[in-house]
Symmetry: C2
Subunit: 253 residues, 2 copies
DNA sequence: CCAAAAGTGTTCATAATACACCCATGC
DNA sequence: GCATGGGTGTATTATGAACACTTTTGG
């Protein structure tokens, strides 16, 4: 930002002692959604290696490096440190700031949603984390459960208010999927995908089966006719009739 | 938040020195929308009494009182201090955190949208502000203009990145108006309003004329039939045919 | 009577949903 | 051939926009 200031203001800024004002810590927390091998909605969780909530599972994220990065950059950096992913699709979700959400001190959390295909996730827990895992999201009478082949975690066992953040993220994702192009970010390969694969992603997020003919119709109307997606000459064979492949035209969504 | 911790953790928390970590300042900034006397989309701006950007116009808002309030409470408090309004409709917009958006130091801004009918706005500039005003939002080749009977302000003359925040707020408001009940918050009296008055609010926000018969149809379908709004026995006379009055059933929206 | 604003009804295009049916492949 | 998933077409209903028309008031 270009900011021209007077001599008077320069003097003010020089003697401005930022520490006069009490300040909160600021972190980013990232809700990383993916689809597991059976196309079920899943989330990345990190086992904390430090207090508070040591040994508890939590969202990936960490403190803002003040003066060195924006909060968007912080989210990207933390995501890279903990998953190896660069240039992921990230969108800001909400900012949480109750004074009691962290036992240490006031910690403002700016939360983000990331949508990343599973094969791109290379879990590499950073210094703050001992362990990382991808967990299917399930539900029972007490709320959400996060489970994989080794572990099942109750939502009440998550660190901080992260269960709440996840719940809000799921709601937002479900609402966005109808009018944003989010689903494309979960494709295995945006340069070669089938309508069925895209439909499966929508079904997983909306948690209900969709009608293939109708899905195809809106896909062709909304994406192919508008030029956002191009039909490839190639087809792919598995069982049944060979399947047409499509690719995104604009690169990333 | 109930947080039970071990003796080991207690020790950690006691020796935890929050100031080890560099921290940003956190503010809330509030985009207060209203309709002026001629039903034009307007916004509340404050003339800053202090550096930085002294004498420049800016959004109302201020620093978070760390440990004493949540960010939602901070937004409500600032709004009350600068407009006298309590319990206004506030919804979180976006959080801005570029390191260079404030010349002093890194300042994270959590922005909010407020929708307040003009007659409820009692402008009382706080200690940080010399002057407050309601400005109609106009546009020309260089972007937004904010003008009232005394002054016209170019968007480039606003403090900080507030022009950008306002632009994002307007976009969000326009998108929300179609599926959220925001418009009701701008009614002069939620217990006695006409379909025309509500339509005018929608027209102002969407900045285009709407068809009254069609507007009525969706209003009756979406609000009256569902019970959110009740038709009153009363009518009101002005020019032409007397107008039916409606009231919100659930109190505030 | 006329202007003005409220309120009603009709038409048309588009979109969401449900579902019947055909097509091309592997086995 | 036949199971399997891909792909096409049709009927139904809901929604949104455009617009003609009627109603009730004040002047």
């Amino acid at each position: 930002m270009r900011y021209q200031c007077s001599e008077e203001e320069k003097a003010f800024l020089q003697q401005y002692n930022a520490s006069l004002y009490e300040r909160p810590s600021v972190t980013t927390d990232i809700v990383v959604f993916t689809l597991d091998d059976l196309d079920r909605l899943s989330i990345l969780l990190i086992k904390r290696g430090q207090f508070p909530y040591k040994e508890k599972w939590a969202l990936p994220g960490g403190f803002l490096h003040v003066g060195k990065e924006s909060i968007d950059e912080c989210a990207n950096r933390e995501l890279k440190e903990e998953t190896g992913i660069e240039n992921a699709f990230l969108s800001q979700l909400y900012t949480f700031g109750s004074p009691d959400r962290d036992p240490r001190t006031t910690v403002i959390s700016v939360s983000y949603i990331a949508l990343i295909p599973k094969h791109r996730l290379q879990l590499c827990a950073g210094d703050d984390a001992k362990e990382a895992g991808i967990f299917q999201i399930k539900y029972d009478v007490d709320g959400m459960l996060f489970s994989n082949s080794q572990t099942t975690i109750r939502e009440s066992d998550l660190a901080f208010d992260h269960a709440n953040i996840i719940r809000i993220a799921i709601t937002r994702l479900r609402n966005r999927i109808d009018y944003e192009d989010d689903a494309f970010n979960l494709l295995k390969d945006q340069n070669e995908f089938t309508i069925s694969e895209l439909k499966k992603i929508h079904e997983t997020i909306k948690n209900k089966p969709l009608d293939l003919p109708n899905f195809r119709k809106s896909f062709l109307r909304d994406y192919v006719k508008s030029g956002k997606v191009k039909e490839l000459k190639k087809t792919i064979n598995s069982k049944g009739k060979p399947t047409k492949l499509y690719k995104l035209t604009g690169g990333d969504v």
